[in-house]
């Protein structure tokens, strides 16, 4: 069965091969192996990019295949990041606190230890009590479960309410924007229990691996991200191949017709919305330990809009298109905004790319939407055009 799935979807094999080759190349050239041709910070950038590619394929499935233009998937990404960030921060602070107390002659009481950890984490927002949502922060397993459960449950409830009322099109997009905005505004509050606008930081330090150099840690996360992207790609390719893909694309093209065929459209939308939210959460949980910090700004509505732009530029309705779009645009974006691109002096005016990059991106989006609706991925159609 699996053979026939691959045989019917050769692009999956090509993608996995390319991803494998890329991963192998980066690993060999990284500082972790001693070759050091690729710096640790760039390995992190590449690892983060793989996570962005993962959420981009989720976006492509929900939008490109199912026709739901969600402008809120970065909320799920952020939740995944916060969920793992809580454990990272708690466990690391606990280690530091225990270290400090070990110098004392009188052993510290559990209450003292807890207070000290609380002080360390919540001092910035003028508090030292642990909010209820940190109840499981000491357990890696439970926080990992939350990476999956919270985005999944939120998507399930939100989707159920929205799809059941048959909210579609631009109204649904606005609703998803409202969801991500509400979440971001909530997190910005100091009493949200997640350190307000400070967010969670120091996430690059993995508890238990204090002695391991960042070069090694970065390559481990890079490999994990590559594995997650490969697995996610395979999973979504399987979901959208075959009959499920038919029904889902039918919903995109003519929802009413699918209903009259006897399919309960709302259940299908809910299924797609929820699995893509879960994958987005996983992508976020891998991303933020590489970024080192997460704050509510990451969940701002604009992030989810960028996600749609990546997928549109890469070419929606094909998974590798989403990967290309996310990788290409996000890397280009960090090059432009990071001062990599030389400013252009026009004599009377100097184009500084840190300011003008967004304009360029906006223009590209318009041009792609109007003239190349298939995006960059559409170029592959010319390459593999069947002889007719």
């Amino acid at each position: 069965m699996h053979n026939t799935f691959i045989a019917r979807n050769p692009s999956v094999l090509w993608f996995l091969a390319a991803l494998g080759l890329f991963t192998f190349g980066v690993t060999i050239l990284s500082e972790a192996t001693g070759l050091g041709l690729i710096s640790t910070s760039f390995v992190k950038t590449l690892g983060k990019t793989l996570c962005l590619c993962l959420i981009a394929i989720a976006m492509d499935v929900v939008w490109g295949y199912c026709g739901i233009l969600s402008l809120g998937h970065f909320a799920f990404f952020g939740i995944g990041g916060y969920a793992i960030g809580m454990w990272l921060m708690y466990a690391r602070t606990e280690a530091i606190v225990l270290q400090n107390f070990s110098a004392q002659t009188i052993p510290a009481t559990p209450q003292e230890i807890s207070d000290a950890i609380g002080n360390q984490i919540f001092g910035v927002v003028g508090s030292s009590d642990f909010p209820a949502i940190w109840s499981f922060a000491d357990s890696l397993v439970l926080q990992l479960a939350m990476v999956v459960l919270i985005p999944g449950l939120l998507a399930l409830v939100f989707g159920w309410l929205a799809f059941r009322s048959r909210v579609t099109g631009v109204y649904l997009s606005i609703l998803t924007q409202a969801m991500t905005l509400a979440l971001s505004l909530y997190l910005f509050q100091n009493d949200s229990g997640l350190r307000g606008n400070n967010g969670l930081s120091g996430l690059q330090n993995i508890p238990g691996f204090e002695q391991t150099p960042q070069a090694t840690i970065s390559i481990v996360f890079f490999l994990a991200s590559a594995f997650a992207l490969g697995a996610g790609y395979l999973f979504f390719a399987w979901v959208i191949s075959g009959k499920m893909g038919s029904v889902v694309q039918g919903i995109r093209d003519n929802e009413a017709r699918v209903r009259f065929l006897g399919y309960h459209v709302e259940s299908y939308k809910l299924f797609i919305f929820t699995i893509t939210a879960v994958v987005s959460g996983i992508a976020g949980a891998l991303y933020y330990p590489q970024a080192g910090i997460i704050n509510p700004g990451e969940i701002a509505p604009i992030a989810s809009i960028y996600l749609a732009v990546w997928v549109a530029i890469g070419g929606r309705g094909r998974l590798y298109g989403a990967v290309i779009g996310a990788a290409f645009v996000s890397l280009l974006s960090s090059w432009f905004t990071g001062g990599g691109a030389p400013d252009i002096n026009l004599g009377f005016y100097t184009i500084q790319w840190t300011d003008w990059w967004l304009v360029l991106l906006g223009l590209s989006f318009v041009v792609v939407t109007l003239y190349f609706p298939k995006g960059i991925g559409g170029l592959f159609d010319y390459l593999v055009r069947k002889p007719s």
Partner: protein, 250 residues
């Protein structure tokens, strides 16, 4: 066998005060063909919308099957899985997908997301698709993208999708629109064969087409039944001539 498969009684629908369906009552037996004719705006499509759950009536009953289930309040998908299939006035097939995919989607199989996700191709399903493709004359086009088909072929594909659903009641809205004479003949044959084992309701303007269907005819006018009987019977009815037939020749 039951005498009535679908019973619509006393149904009224108003759109912004305008009565599109006015105290309509109509019944269909478990097998056989029925033609519904009537001038533009008579409420033919709206009648199908009510039966298939797209439009909720203000008043009346729609009763289905042996168990006398009320269809009012059921969702479109629920009604469809209970055995009512529908072809739209404008051919609506999934243009981005192949003919085979269109038929496979319509084929009577479990409809839940989980069942669909774990669905496997079977020889039995493939054989059914082949048989339907043969019936609608699209055997050579199974791997073609539906969007590339001619208008008539799309109409047939949609009829094929209906057959694949294996419904007990087929509601067919203007199947012959835009078809050549030859295509029309073939369409009549398909519909007549389908009506051997199920109830088929055809809405059509074209009198020649209706004549060839050779079945009981119901004339709708201003949302109610104006006349019912054989084609010759209704076309000799003076009111029918006045409101409908007269128009074309006036």
């Amino acid at each position: 066998m039951i005498a009535t498969l679908l019973e619509v009684s006393g149904v009224t629908v108003t759109f912004d005060g305008f009565r599109a369906i006015n105290n309509l009552s109509i019944q269909f037996p478990p097998t056989g063909l029925r033609a519904i004719i009537g001038p533009n705006g008579a409420g033919k499509t709206t009648f199908m919308d009510i039966v298939t759950g797209k439009t909720k009536p203000d008043e009346g009953h729609v009763i289905w099957g042996e168990e006398n289930v009320s269809l009012l309040g059921l969702s479109e998908s629920d009604i469809a899985t209970r055995g009512i299939g529908r072809k739209f006035q404008k051919p609506t097939v999934f243009e981005a997908q192949t003919v085979r995919q269109n038929l496979a989607m319509a084929l009577k199989n479990p409809r839940s997301p989980f069942a669909v996700l774990t669905h496997r191709r079977t020889a039995k399903n493939a054989a059914k698709i082949e048989a339907i493709a043969d019936e609608i004359g699209l055997t050579d086009s199974l791997t073609r993208i539906a969007g590339e088909l001619s208008h008539g072929q799309k109409q047939w594909l949609e009829i094929g999708m209906l057959l694949a659903q294996d419904p007990r009641l087929l509601l067919v809205d203007e199947p012959a629109a835009g078809m050549t004479v030859e295509e029309r003949e073939k369409t009549t044959d398909i519909l007549r064969r389908a009506a051997e084992t199920r109830s088929v309701v055809v809405v059509e303007h074209d009198m020649e087409f209706v004549r060839r269907l050779d079945c009981k005819v119901t004339v709708l006018h201003e949302g109610a039944v104006l006349a019912e009987g054989s084609l010759d019977h209704v076309t000799s009815n003076q009111t029918v001539i006045d409101v409908y037939l007269g128009r074309g020749h006036a």
